[in-house]
Symmetry: C2
């Protein structure tokens, strides 16, 4: 069944029922919801001091290709990338608004699968789908907004200070490796499910974001544009610079096995990782490590002067030549 056969309002009914059926009434997002799908706007009761809002969009043939990802994974990922931004503030994610641009020939089952992927990660992270918009469009796009809350403090990009250590959760580069594999642009030397999974179903670090905030850390960012590129964003926002050492960048065994020669470049330059990078004292980093099962690795330190500059040094203390420094949407990076 195609969208053009059932129409916009029947589609909205189907999606509203799906969302309603699987709602977790005990989750933060559902508990405070007053008006969800089906009114002019979503409404919920406030309790926290601070509100958070973020938006991120996936566009067909820019961020994904139909046929290379399932609709369910696409739904998961579209919400995951937004949750990652709330994680990078140390907040709690509560509500999502889902805007879909869809060609009329899109299958209704494809869109319900997309929603099931969103509902799945929504349940895992306490988020209620509270509204949205559907429109016709020549290419598929999925524009999500996630609303959240925080106590009286948040993690900021602009709060890094000279002398702080730079730490990163998990293993950067895995999503870039997974993307290269899925796009058929690389042949792995070893097995790859952990890599493709990292690309198709990223895990936003909501728990770690809170742990990092509670450890007294001030500055964090998620590394969705790539480790070095996002460290650069953080340095520019904070008016500082950074130095990282290639030997300290954690490389997942699956990444090293699949791409022994490119693993480090993927970790430094690949995008679409949703790990958190933060800057802190050694003691604060130890406090974070003590509370999470994820690896947390110190990879360098914040320096002063040369605002925005990120130096990458190899084991001999020489400048490491970066292959790719993040992603620019209009192709000038």
């Amino acid at each position: 069944m195609k969208l053009s056969e059932i129409g916009e309002f029947a589609l909205i009914d189907i999606l509203a029922n799906l969302v309603q059926k699987d709602r977790d009434v005990m989750s933060p997002g559902w508990k405070n919801l007053v008006a969800g799908i089906g009114d002019d706007a979503a409404a919920w009761k406030n309790s926290a001091n601070l509100s958070l809002a973020t938006t991120d969009c996936l566009v067909q043939d820019v961020h994904f290709r139909l046929g290379q990802t399932s609709w369910r994974d696409l739904g998961w990922k579209a919400l995951a990338v937004n949750l990652s931004d709330i994680a990078a503030m140390g907040g709690t994610a509560e509500h999502a608004l889902v805007t879909l641009g869809l060609p009329g020939e899109t299958g209704v089952e494809d869109i319900t699968e997309l929603y099931k992927g969103m509902i799945e990660i929504g349940i895992a992270s306490g988020v209620a789908i509270a509204g949205g918009d559907v429109t016709s469009s020549s290419a598929v796009f999925i524009s999500l907004t996630v609303l959240g809350s925080a106590g009286d403090r948040i993690l900021r990009r602009c709060a890094a200070r000279g002398g702080e250590l730079i730490a990163v959760t998990g293993y950067p580069g895995m999503a870039a490796a997974g993307m290269a594999l899925i796009n058929g642009k690389a042949k792995p030397d070893g097995e790859t499910p952990a890599l493709t999974q990292a690309f198709l179903r990223p895990s936003p670090r909501l728990g770690e974001g809170k742990i990092i905030l509670e450890a007294g850390v001030q500055a964090a960012i998620d590394i969705s544009d790539g480790l070095v590129a996002d460290l650069g964003h953080l340095c520019r926002a904070s008016g500082v610079s950074a130095q990282i050492e290639t030997e300290r960048v954690p490389l997942h065994p699956a990444l090293r096995r699949a791409f022994p020669d490119r693993a480090l470049d993927m970790a430094l330059g690949g995008g679409e990782d949703y790990e958190l990078l933060f800057t802190a004292s050694a003691a604060a980093i130890e406090a974070v490590k003590a509370r999470t099962s994820l690896p947390v690795s110190v990879i360098g330190e914040i320096t002063t002067g040369n605002t925005g500059l990120v130096r990458v040094l190899d084991s001999h203390g020489n400048e490491y030549p970066l292959k790719k420094a993040g992603w620019d949407h209009f192709g000038t990076a």
Copy 2:
């Protein structure tokens, strides 16, 4: 200068500076903003009981055609249609997140004009642009989310009750007339600036939404899909039906002059009007009228049974044959 020549991050810098330069620090949205453009998420301090969120998207060649609207008007309208949803809840609009999908050949000046249009209506309505996302895309799309707040009560679509009168603000049909003129699909018999303006630069009824709420009204909707279609939505959500009389539908003199034969059909079936429709007692409607300079017209009443049915009666009490009942994005309406 094209986007592809300056890149994503330079564009974001330009837009962030524009937004910052024109901010109105006394407006609700700016006063409570803690983190705006340039961090992982936007953050602001809560004070109201209820949070509101709505999202609406304009797509090139679906909602607008470049060349038929200026970029500045497009920016105004993209924000206006979202503000209208907050108005329909009786809320205060505070923050906007702006997601743009843009081809690389788009002119940078066009996008700054788009932002100027948003900033213009943002200032007029107290809204701070607090974040967003830009991505490349084959066609232009503008997906906005507006966040707002309300006291302890909101206007709902689901709260209409049998016996209540149906009232509408302003003059429906003007935007449909303006659109027909701009698309070259109609030749007017009279002058038209009020009509094209209604289509290009709609005025969301934020003030009236609050007045309606404060008058004790429970149920409202904005008539962006068309008067009869949205009255149908309200009736379905409330489990009621409605009867309206064509003689009571207010027709603006400019609409009647330009389209003497089609004015009523445009008022009943045309979309893109951002007037508010609400249901209330005669006394509550009088209380609303006393506080606004806009015309407020009673056009019929809420009935029970036949959930969702809207009967339109002419001056002889006969069923009026509707030409067009709203807009469906996938073309089955």
